[in-house]
Amino acid sequence: MTRVLAWAALIFGMLYFLLPLVGMTEFSLSMRRGVYSLDAYGSVLSDPRFWETFGYSVAMAVATIVFGVLLVVPTAYWVRLKLPWIRPYIEFVTLLPLVIPAIVIVFGYIRLYNTSSWLPLTGTPMGTNLLLMFGYATLALPYMYRAVDTGLRTLDVGTLTEAAQSLGAGWGTILFRVILPNVLVAVLSGAFLTFAIVIGEFTMAALLDRPAFGPFMQILGANRAYEPAALAVIAFAITWACMGLIQLVTRLQKHTRAGA
């Protein structure tokens, strides 16, 4: 009896998640009356704005990942090594972006860095890009910090640091040759999550008026019927590919025990 109930719950859950996806995919294939076709996809992929905005968002994602790694790895390492008592506070701070809506953050940014402020970042496209990258890094912070901190927990950070020091290594060498390679899997999983967040982000990019993928999806959605569904499927595929890549790099890590 319990087994039947368990299966029923599972099937209900799967339908709940899968039906909208199936419906959306089905709709995205129905542009041509009466037959399934990839016309909607063709239309999306042949739109130059798709490639422009997608390229922009990928570049922003890469920049965000690099900045996030350089910010989070040394911080999490230092907190574990020297300031363990501060960890709960740092964790609280890294969770704030989940509580504070992106729209609040971006309005704060605009107030602080507008053209009549002491640091007019929004005055130039490059400055606005920078601001957007900081915003993305903030949004990704909870995931990146948690991933890296979990990775560091599997290491004996203190002893490895001392071993490297006794062999003559300075802080740079310790961070980039000892700590970073050993938390690489964690960093990569944080990186793919960051990528997925940045690709789909709408609020910040729209309010800062940057040509990102999120606002493009919105514009397309407001003006077309079939293309938005095709675009949503593409965005899903990208996110899932990221998840798959996390799994893949975890498996390919050759210096960790298989299955551990």
Binding site: D156, E162, A163, G168, A169, V178, N182, H255
Partner: protein, 354 residues
């Protein structure tokens, strides 16, 4: 001045005064052990030499130069940790070559040095060089850690309980190997351990530490046979302690529990003074023997069969004696409760602190 001169070190963590006026001159090529229970400050002394802790007072001079202001990565001191601490992302060869790479040794020379080190520890390059640490046993990992510490030719080697995480058999074999390698390279070594057997078997000199103080510094023979304090006596080896009253300090005659003992050597105490004395289990024998002038009737209490040695707890003259006797297949040990005779010599009596 000694090669490595540790003088008047003091260290406190908060209200905890862990190292108190610790001084130790070490000669070049010497193997010195710091022995003591946990919390005695031995590891803190080692970490101050490595540079991971800085002393509140005192100096650490290597070849006459004060090391205290130097950072750990400027000291050229090799260290082996209890937890191995191999870099998990690097192969055995890369681990051993880590220090060489940082020192900027060119790759051909570094490769040769790594191969030489791996040969020294008995894990040849061809077979083990490309393995990762998780593919090695604990003993092998600790050997690689030793090779890694030795590869950049450090001026001093520090071993922080390197054998404590290994099983008994590996521990005994590896400690012999460590000593052998240390002799071959002639490297000045400080070894921290809480295991007295380890310290006695491996060292040129042993420092017995208790509550932040070096209670006694001496060769293993001195430490074992002439313990300077009651703590050293009780911590190193097993013994049966007694209280004795000095009768004649010039001839070394004392009395304890109604027995008059002649120690065969003059005592620094006054007549009538009380001195702590002790007997090692191996100084007491089951039955009579030539040269053991004191013979007592006793009752065996408990018998512990330890293989090559049998330890008997016997009661005689109102005292409990521990005695060790070698196992012989043709003479089974006494049964508990059985009357026996025990014998020893006054010359084998240890006077603690004299």
């Amino acid at each position: 001045m000694a090669y490595l001169d540790i003088s008047h070190l003091e260290k406190s963590f908060g209200v905890n005064h862990v190292v108190k006026d610790f001084s130790l001159p070490i000669e070049k090529g010497e193997f010195v052990s710091l022995l003591g229970p946990s919390g005695c400050g031995k590891t803190t002394v080692l970490r101050m030499v490595a540079g991971f802790e800085s002393p509140d007072r005192g100096a650490i001079r290597l070849e006459g130069k004060d090391m205290v202001p130097l950072r750990p990565n400027q000291r050229n001191v090799g260290m082996v940790f209890q937890a191995y601490a191999l870099f998990p992302n690097l192969t055995v060869a890369q681990n051993v070559g880590f220090g060489l790479r940082i020192a900027g040794v060119d790759s051909a020379e570094s490769k040769a040095r790594v191969a030489q080190m791996l040969d020294l520890i008995g894990l040849p390059m061809a077979e083990y060089g490309d393995r990762y640490p998780f593919q090695l046993s604990g003993g092998q990992q600790q050997r690689v850690a030793l090779a890694r510490a030795l590869a950049p030719r450090p001026r001093v080697l520090l071993l922080d309980e390197p054998l404590s995480a290994l099983d008994a058999k590996v521990r005994v074999r590896l400690r012999g190997e460590i000593r052998e390698i240390q002799r071959q390279l002639g490297i000045t070594t400080i070894f921290v351990t809480h295991d007295q057997e380890e310290a006695l078997s491996i060292s040129d000199r042993v420092v017995v530490m208790n509550a932040g103080i070096a209670d006694q510094v001496g060769t293993p023979f001195e430490i074992y046979n002439r313990p300077a304090t009651p703590f050293v006596a009780s911590f190193v080896g097993t013994l049966t302690p007694f209280e004795a009253r000095v009768l004649d300090p010039a001839t070394g005659t004392v009395t304890s529990g109604g027995l008059t003992l002649n120690l065969g050597r003059p005592l620094p105490s006054q007549a009538g003074a009380t001195v702590p004395i002790a007997l090692r289990p191996e100084a007491v024998q089951l039955g009579r023997a030539s040269g053991r002038e004191i013979v007592l009737p006793a009752t065996a209490h408990s018998v512990e069969f330890m293989g090559s040695v049998i330890r008997v707890r016997a009661e005689a003259a109102g005292q409990t004696f521990l005695l060790d006797t070698f196992n012989r297949p043709d003479s089974p040990p006494p049964q508990p409760g059985e009357p026996v005779e025990i014998s020893f010599s006054g010359r084998d009596v240890i006077v603690i602190g004299a």
